[in-house]
Symmetry: none
Subunit: 285 residues, 2 copies
DNA sequence: CATCTTTATGAAATTTTCTTACAAATTTGC
DNA sequence: GCAAATTTGTAAGAAAATTTCATAAAGATG
């Protein structure tokens, strides 16, 4: 499991801190970048606590002392993951909402990165490699993800297709059988049409893979489920980030397949890349 | 343009440093990680120079002093490790390549987050709000992005469509005119078909927006360009992350449009959300 | 090659920053 | 309501960093 980001660790621990430690935490979380460049005295003053309290705070988070803590904080900031709960609000202008949306996406990715089951990724790669045919199915926003997956997996010389048409999906599911892989992408895992099609595929002996929410009907039907838990979209203004997480997971799967294929396969990928060259204007410089 | 890594800067400057500064540089380059956690005294001793020499060295590299220098060095190390040493290599297993792919995506997002021009985002939001019609065009992987954009902007009650068919694109571009917005998505900005269609759109008086690489043919044609610079995909195994960056930028634009529409518009979004409810299995719990 | 000028360097003092020890205050358990 | 445990701050002192200034080295000039 990936080491959690210091900032998130602090945020997580927040409720368990005592009064002065929590004051320190709040000041740091409010502007971590500033914290890295202030002295212990300045930070103590900003938090309204004594210097030793700040020092104790640092030690609580496994730092040798304040300077060491600052160093760790600085590193945590670079890794790009910032503090979570920054919702877009109606008063925001471009320079507020733009980073907020990036940050929220980044945070969700970091969360899934730390939680995704590697053994399940491996199982799915197995299934994909052994597949006689692969179908990527999704509706609405997940349709775009499915389409992207087709574009990606097509390069592996696998018989792959994507469908965002429910009737098409239904027909294909009912004509499939052993060796066929039906890969369902769904944010909620509760869309009736999707679940029904998955049931049909399953009934015909095909392998059903779900890239979806845990504890959903789709998850329970799937032969293997890649569980993605992205916080519900409570804020009206926040975009749905699950699509993006799904895309990255498909990137991971594609990489898994490439690696499993071994180095002999690279020339094939190169060939596909080159086939596009003639469609482009040459880069000067 | 990517800011040069501090370590590389030091290495580059090496020949121009004087005797004691160069000693300091060598010690730091030999073990930069150690340098971040040693005191000025320790480093001075290791380099066989005086403490002020180390201090002067730090100031030479635009640091406020030694502690500030250590901070910058620490940051450089983190980003260095991620960019240089985090490529997927053929020996990787699931638990290595999975976080690597997430990290590389996260890094690219963080980079664009810090570099994207807010004023251009604003300009694009303006154009989208005023548009009589919006067309999202993309080919290949960018086609999926365009499709996702349609799905997203459709909710704004704007006449929007997406096309990944070159002939369709061509026809629409030539029938468009003032008030129409053609939004082109392209990783390279050099695909001939895309550039040609953009030229046609432009010639007919439509607004052309490019979500693409800077200094590309597409960028130079566009009325407004959202420049996205994602490091070239040199590693055979690394997936292309520009798609994901593009999606997030479209999320930003959509948020901008929602905010500009004001709170009166929220019921409309709510209505669309609700329209999907009946298609889902209810969540128990 | 002597002398002046510039530049580089370090010793020591000063200042800033951090840590520790301990006592006061607060909370908790009984 | 009192003792123990925990939390917090004061103040001292230790450590680290910076500045000042003197000296040494290198370079320029006649």
């Amino acid at each position: 499991m990936h080491t959690q980001n210091l900032i998130n660790i602090i945020a997580d621990q927040l409720p368990e801190l005592n009064k002065s430690e929590s004051k320190v935490a709040q000041v740091i979380l409010a502007d971590p970048d500033r914290a890295t460049s202030s002295s212990i005295a300045a930070l103590a003053k900003a938090a309204g606590v004594s210097e030793p309290s700040v020092n104790r705070f640092c030690k609580r988070f496994n730092a040798a002392g304040f300077p060491d803590f600052k160093l760790k904080l600085a590193k945590a900031l670079v890794s790009g993951v910032r503090f979570v709960n920054r919702n877009v609000d109606p008063e925001d202008d471009v320079s507020s909402y733009t980073p907020k949306i990036f940050d929220s996406t980044i945070n969700n990715l970091a969360m899934v990165r730390d939680r995704i089951s590697h053994s399940i990724v491996n199982q799915v790669v197995d299934k994909l490699i052994q597949a006689k045919r692969i179908y990527f199915f999704g509706l609405g926003a997940s349709g775009s993800v499915a389409r992207d997956a087709e574009n990606k997996f097509f390069r592996f010389n696998l018989p792959v297709s994507f469908h965002d048409d429910v009737l098409m999906q239904r027909m294909l599911a009912s004509t499939g059988g052993t060796g066929d892989v039906f890969f369902f992408i769904s944010h909620t895992g509760r869309t009736k049409e999707v679940v029904e099609v998955a049931e049909i595929a399953k009934a015909n002996g095909s392998t059903v893979i779900g890239l979806t929410a845990p504890d959903s009907p789709l998850a329970s039907i799937s032969s293997v489920t890649l569980e993605v838990e992205v916080p519900e979209n409570t804020d009206e203004y926040m975009p749905m980030t699950s699509r993006i997480v799904h895309l990255v997971i498909l990137d991971v799967l594609a990489t898994g397949v490439t690696l499993r294929r071994g180095p002999d396969f690279l020339p094939h990928l190169e060939k596909i890349k080159n086939s596009l060259k003639s469609t482009r204007y040459i880069k000067d410089s």
